[in-house]
Symmetry: C2
């Protein structure tokens, strides 16, 4: 299997990306097509003693910035690493894609260059998120700010297939993110979506409150992309702020510092379970080929994990199953 990787996407590109590919070759037994300025890639690899074994380089002279407008990848920046990588994916030069760059541009490229699965209204971003015990999938977490009820039902279908085939959750419980658990709760979008979810054939367990998401509310949380993005980022923000607060307590005095040493190992284990770097990347579900977005701040480990996720996604036949479900 060969994974196409944008070597120039994300805050830590290209070094951490190339390192991540080196890790992935060994950890996941894959070949890599690295896309970006060939000269720079070879120089960075040589300087950092990174082996480019099982990696091929596809030269791309340009780079799209995190803040650039997405449609630049089809106009002025059509030769940026992201656009070149997307075309390579569309042309079958690899089995899937991983990038840590501009999210909007990745979605735009996935939709317009790679293409949607027939019957899919809109691709949706579906990260795997940590909860008290285990994980859940949040879909859509930011691809579509404005949604119609039928889109939300499709997000539930696509994410259920992903949860079942890749996370190994049997008959995933699907919940609609809402402001209360009663059937009639919510805004116009939610009250229109609820009956459609009930008839969808999904294992729909009803509305779920944001308060219950971090516990074991369900396996798939369905949201419009605006609400999903707020959930995704607030999750990260509140957890990060609280951990910072606790670090403050643990370094507040000499006595506290000793206590911190005593619980260090167990705290690290807990932090690891919550770390988004451990999750790797998130797929845009509904695209005809696997397109995975890794966090902009991805380290080598994250990139390698995301590449492993693409392999699992391909092996599990998620795309074929989605195509079948939306026929």
């Amino acid at each position: 299997m060969r994974i196409i990787v944008d070597a120039f996407g994300g805050d830590n590109a290209p070094l951490e990306i190339i390192k991540g590919c080196e890790l992935a070759v060994k950890a996941h037994d894959v070949d890599i097509l690295l896309v970006g300025k060939e000269e720079t890639i070879r120089k960075v690899a040589a300087e950092n003693k990174i082996s480019l074994d099982r990696m091929e380089i596809l030269d791309a002279p340009d780079v799209i910035a995190m803040e650039d407008h997405p449609n630049l990848i089809r106009t002025e920046k059509k030769n940026c690493s992201l656009a070149v990588a997307m075309r390579a994916l569309a042309e079958g030069k690899g089995d899937g894609f991983v990038g840590a760059g501009n999210t909007g541009a990745t979605l735009f490229g996935a939709t317009t260059i790679v293409g949607r699965i027939k019957g899919v209204k809109r691709p949706a971003l579906a990260p795997v998120m940590p909860k008290m015990e285990g994980k859940f999938i949040l879909c859509d977490s930011g691809a579509n700010a404005d949604c119609r009820p039928e889109m939300l039902v499709q997000f539930g279908k696509m994410a259920s297939i992903y949860a079942e085939r890749v996370l190994g959750v049997n008959n995933p419980r699907v919940g609609l993110a809402n402001v209360g658990t009663e059937d009639t709760k919510g805004d116009a979008l939610r009250t229109e979506t609820f009956p459609l979810m009930k008839e969808s054939g999904l294992n729909f367990i009803g509305n779920i409150e944001a308060r219950d998401i971090p516990y074991d509310a369900c396996d798939v949380v369905v949201a419009d992309g605006f609400t999903g993005n707020v959930i995704l980022k607030l999750y990260e923000g509140v957890a990060g702020a609280l951990i910072k607060k606790i670090k403050g307590v643990l370094t507040a005095s000499g006595k506290n510092k000793i206590a911190a040493l005593m619980i260090k190992k167990d705290m690290k284990k807990m932090a690891k379970q919550l770390d988004h770097n451990e999750q790797g990347g998130a797929p845009f579900l509904g695209v005809v080929k696997p397109v995975f977005k890794a966090h902009g701040s991805s380290q080598a480990k994250t990139v390698s994990n995301a590449i492993g996720q693409v392999k699992a996604f391909v092996t599990a036949g998620v795309i074929e199953a989605i195509a079948e479900s939306v026929k």
Copy 2:
């Protein structure tokens, strides 16, 4: 000053409510009008040795449940403690109201029995929330699931006045909860609201991402009631789940338990800053009299704090200032 309190609202009513009133009489130097079944109130007070000094009781035979439909307070349950309390407030039998019961019914009563300030489109719920250092106001946090852009601008105005006059924040920074910081980010509601916020005369600092809310993003977070409610509840959910995780670490072994004892005092101080019971209640801004909603799980301390907030709200002339600003 006399505060009207629903003795039968919330999960811990009437005991914790009556206890809270006893605390408030001393802590905030106020008189109380307790509304609910007089016989039960007197019995509970006697059994628990609670002094009813400076409290008067207004008998109300019925109770509205947390899950009851709000409009019952004007039909079958028009003699529930909440409805009787709202009528008493409208008739001037007290200077403000505190209740920990059914949120929808409290809003419905506030709007239809007590009434809106002239010019206010919709009252909005505005809790004070903790951040890394200090506090911010989230408005609307759940009163209006579907909103128009002008409503969001008014939420910003009302909450700014509250932040300035009660929290003592000079020229409060107002942010629009959104999925990115760029001016053009978001769904239709956000992109239409943004220019109106810019022209509003508020100290509008632009869009803020959910990730930054727990840090020092701004003093007033403006959201539609659906998004605001998701933020409010996810804040509580993520913080609660993480604290539970940490408690797990601190009790995982004998060594960890010793470490826990060493940091106990500082951890408690931190937890206190984050505890919603410390915040008291949240006002429905835009109502002609102060109507405060306390958390359903309120303890005596919460009720007393909420009563103190009503006093501060009245003293600061928040309602008069809002009336002036929406003229």
